[in-house]
Symmetry: C2
Subunit: 571 residues, 2 copies
Amino acid sequence: MRIWKTGAIAAAMLPLAIAQALAAGKDVSSAEVQYQAGSSPLANVEMYQDINPKAPPLTKAEFDKARQIYFERCAGCHGVLRKGATGKPLTPDKTLAAGTDYLKVFIKYGSPAGMPNWGTSGELSDDEVDLMARYIQQTPPQPPEYGLKDMKATWKVIVPPEARPKKKMNNYNLENIFSTTLRDAGEIALIDGDTKKIISIIKTGYAVHISRMSASGRYLFVIGRDAKINMIDLWMEKPDNVAEIRVGLEARSVETSKFKGYEDKLAIAGTYWPPQYVIMNGDTLEPLKIMATRGMTVGEQEFHPEPRVASIVASHYKPEFVVNVKETGKSLMVNYSNLNEITTKEIPVSKFLHDGGLDSSKRYFMVAANQSNQVGAIDLKDGTLAGLIDVGKIPHPGRGANFTHPKYGPVWATGHLGDETIALIGTDPAKHKQYAWKMVESLKGPGGGALFVKSHPKSKNLWSDAPLNPDPKISQSIVVYDINNLAAGYKTLPIGEWSGIKDDGAKRVVQPEYNKAGDEVWFSVWSAKNKESAIVVVDDKTLKLKAVIKDPRLITPTGHFNVYNTQHDVY
Amino acid sequence: MRIWKTGAIAAAMLPLAIAQALAAGKDVSSAEVQYQAGSSPLANVEMYQDINPKAPPLTKAEFDKARQIYFERCAGCHGVLRKGATGKPLTPDKTLAAGTDYLKVFIKYGSPAGMPNWGTSGELSDDEVDLMARYIQQTPPQPPEYGLKDMKATWKVIVPPEARPKKKMNNYNLENIFSTTLRDAGEIALIDGDTKKIISIIKTGYAVHISRMSASGRYLFVIGRDAKINMIDLWMEKPDNVAEIRVGLEARSVETSKFKGYEDKLAIAGTYWPPQYVIMNGDTLEPLKIMATRGMTVGEQEFHPEPRVASIVASHYKPEFVVNVKETGKSLMVNYSNLNEITTKEIPVSKFLHDGGLDSSKRYFMVAANQSNQVGAIDLKDGTLAGLIDVGKIPHPGRGANFTHPKYGPVWATGHLGDETIALIGTDPAKHKQYAWKMVESLKGPGGGALFVKSHPKSKNLWSDAPLNPDPKISQSIVVYDINNLAAGYKTLPIGEWSGIKDDGAKRVVQPEYNKAGDEVWFSVWSAKNKESAIVVVDDKTLKLKAVIKDPRLITPTGHFNVYNTQHDVY
C-alpha cells in the first residue's frame, strides 16, 4: 500500500489512511479527512502570528511553512481556528497540556478514530511532524475577515445584462449540456450531451465544487474552493463568463432563487471562511446582503466561532434559501423577499451538516449530518424539521437518489464514506406514513468510500460509485442495482476498464450523472498518476458502454452536472 | 477642576474629562466614556495572554495589571476585543504602527475627539500610562465564551413555583413600589411609594442596571453589570429572591414577555460579553435558547466580532422581543412563539444603538443610535423601520418621555450627553403625518450631560436631569418644562439642596421617576465623597418638595423604577 509514498497523487483522491484503515477493518472516519483534504486557498494567506510564551519556539520561516501545511492538510477537519470540527480541537490549552512528544506520535502514527498517519504514510517527514507538533501549541493565527468592500473589489460584470444576447445565439441543446469541473486546471468544460463534444472550456475559480443553474436554465453558476463564483451565459454564441466575484477565502456552495416570480433574480453563496453567506443579484452577481453564521451549536448551545456553510438549497415552496451550517448543525431558512429587513428561521438539526438534496416531491430537503451518522428531513413547506434519521457511518449523498421502492414507496438513498451500505429512507408521510423518516432498508455495497448515488424518474436503476475505496477493483468500478429486484444485490460495471485508460492502480471513477432523457449515465474517470482522463457514457437500460469522451483538455474531470436535471432538481 | 485628582470618586459619575471639555467648549463625546466607565466584571477574569514579538516587552504581572485597567477604563469605548466601538480600534496592527511614544501622549493628554486625558487628570500615573501604551501593542486577550453549560451551573431556583404563595401575602400597594438600585452595595431597595419606607433590601448582582416587571406585575427582574439576574416575588410576605442566574460576564438588559397569552411566561437578557442574548423560562429563569449577535455592521457590512446587546424591549403587538445590537446597529425582532425553530427579523437601523422606549401608542420603539446622533423608530406592528431621525449630540433618552405637544401632537423626547438640547420627535403618522419621524423642536437645557427625561400621561411637566454636567449647580439640580408653555424655557429645582446632604461639590441628582398616580416625581441623590444619599420626592403639580427619604441602607442609589409604570410602559 506504499505506492503513494512518492506524493505524486493529489491528496484529495488518494486516501491511503482509509485504505489502510479499511484493510485493517478499522473505522474509516478518516475518509472524511481525505475527502476534505487538498489544497486550501487559506494556505497562502498571510496571517499575523503571535508567540505563545509557553510553547516551544518557532521561527517566522517555520511558522509560515507550518501554517501552510496546516491549512492544506489539517484545517478541513480541525477547523481554521483550530476549535475543532469533525476532528478534535487543537487550541493551545489542549495542545500544551499534551506536549510535543505526545503530539508527534499522534501526527506520525495516526489513530483508529480517524487521524491519518501523516508520518508513516510518507506525507510528512519527521522534521515536518516535529514542526507541526510545535506549531499547534502556538495560538492559531486568524485569517482576515472578508466583507462587502472586499467582495466589491473583486466583483466584475464582464458582459452587462443590456449587452447580452436577446435570444439564444447558438444551436446547442442547452438542456442536455453537461458542466464538468476540470479541477486542477481551474476551469470547467461545457460538453454537448447530444454530440458528446466539448463546446467550450471556461476559466473559473480553483477546483470548482459544484455547478448550479438559474431557474430559467439560461445561466450557469459555478463556485471554486477559493470562493470564486463565475456566471456563464449559455445563450452566447460560445457560452462564456458574463460576471464573476470572489465571496470569501474558501467555499463550497452556490445556488439560485427558484420560487415563482423570482426566477433568475437572486443567487447565494456560502463560505467556509469567513463563516457567512452572501445573497447577490442574480443578473450581475452584485453582492447585496451578507449574514454571519457564527453562533451556538445545536444541543449544547456552546458558541462556535467557525461554523462553515456547507450545502445551500433553494425552496420551490417559498422565497427562501436553506443554508446548512456545519458545526452548529443548523439549517437556516432565509427569506429573500425582503433583503433589507431580512427574516431567518433557524432549524436545529444535528452537527456536521454537509450535503443533501430534495425528495421526489421537492417538499423535503434531506441533509446529511455526516459525522453524526444522521440525515435530517427539512419540511420546506412548513419550515420545520420533519424527521431525523439514524443511518450508517458518515453518510455522503451528494444530492441523493430518489426512486419508488416496490415495498416502501418513495424513498431517498444515500451512500456512506464510512461503511459499505446504502441507506434508503422513506419520504412519503402522506401515503406511506409508516415508512416516512425511517431507514427502511440498508443495501449492501461492494465496500465503503461511496461518494455519490444516483437515479432518475425514468430509470429502474440505482447507481453508486466508490472512489475512496482502497481496493482498485472497486474504486475503478461502478455498481448498479435493479430497483425492482434489490434483493439480487448489485452488478459491477468495469467503468475504469471501459475508459481505456492504462491500468496504473491510480484510476478512480466518480459521480454518476444522467442526461436529460434519463437514458444515459455519465461518469468521470481520471488517473492522477499518468494524468489521463475520460468521460464514460453508459446506456441506462442495457448497462452497456455507449461512448467514451477523451480530450487532452479534460484535465482531472470530477463533478459533472446536466443542465436540465440541475435546473429542475431531477435526481 | 482638579478636585477629583485624589481618585476618591467613582469613575462612572465624575467625568472630569467632560468637565474640562465642556468648560473649554469642546466636543463632549467623552461623556460617553465616563458614562460607560466604571468597574467591569471582565477585569477580574483570567485570560490567556500571548506575547507579540513585535511589541515592547511586558511581564506577566504587568499584563495582569494592564488588563485590569483596560477592562475597567477602556473597554467600554474601545471594546473587549479592542476592535473599536465608540472609540477607535486598538488592535496591534494599528497600535504598533503608532508606536509607544505616540500612544503615551494620547493616553496622557487625551484628544478633542473625546479621548479622556487619563494622565493629566490624575487617573493614571506616568508609569501606568506607559504600561497601557505597551499593553495595547500586544494581542488583545480574549475572554472566555459562556454557553448553556456555564449558565446552568449558576442557575438556582431558590423558591420553586409550587412553593410560592398562592396569593399576595403582604399588605403593600405593589403597584406603587419603587425598585431602587443600590449600585455599590450589590443590592436593590424596595421602597413603598405610599409610605416612603423601605420594605426590604435584597441582594443582587453588582451595579444593577435596570429593573423590569413581569406582565402580571408580580415578579421583578433585575440585572447587574456582572450579568447576574435576580427574580423577586412581590407576593411574598417580605419580597425576596426566588430565582437567579448569571447569563454572561457583562450585561445591561433584561426584559419579560408582554404579548397576550405570554404573560409571565418568558424572560430575556442580553450581554455585552459574550455578545449574545438568552431567552429563559419566566417562572424559573431556566435558560432555554441562546443566540449569538456577532454579525455584519449596518451599511458597510463588515464583520464585527463583539456587537454588544444594549436595550431590549417587549412588543405588545406580537410575541416578539426587540433586541438592539450596538456595534452592528441592528434591531433584531425575535419571535418567541417557537423557541426551538426560532424566527428572527433583522432590521438595520444605525450604529451604536443603546437605549430607548416606546411611544405613547406603544406601537413604535424609539431607539437612540447614540454616537451616530440619530434615533430610529421601529414599527413593532409591521416589523419595519418607520423612520431614522437626526437629533443632537449623543442622544440619551433612558426610555424617553412621551407627551402631547400643543402644536405637534404626540411627541417623544430625548436629552443628550453631548449638548444641552432636548429633541422632540413627532410619533403620530396617523393624525400628525407631517411631523412624524422628524425632530420638530429642540428645547434648550441648562447644559449637556442629560441622562434622563421624564413625563407622565397625567402630567403637564417634562423633567430632565443633568448629572454629568461639570457645573455642580447644574448637576445637583433638576429642570422642568411646562409642556403647554415650552417657549418659557425651564424652571430649576434645587434637588441637591432639598436632599439635605452637605454641599461637598460631589453631589449628583439623577433619574426622575413618577409614582403610579403620576403626581409625584422621585429623584436619587448621592454624594460619592461623603457617602451620603437621599431620595427626594417632589409634588408634580406644585413643584414643591414633598418628602426626603433617608436611610443608612440607601448606599449609592441610582436608577429607580416604579412597578406600575415599568409593568405597563408608562412614560
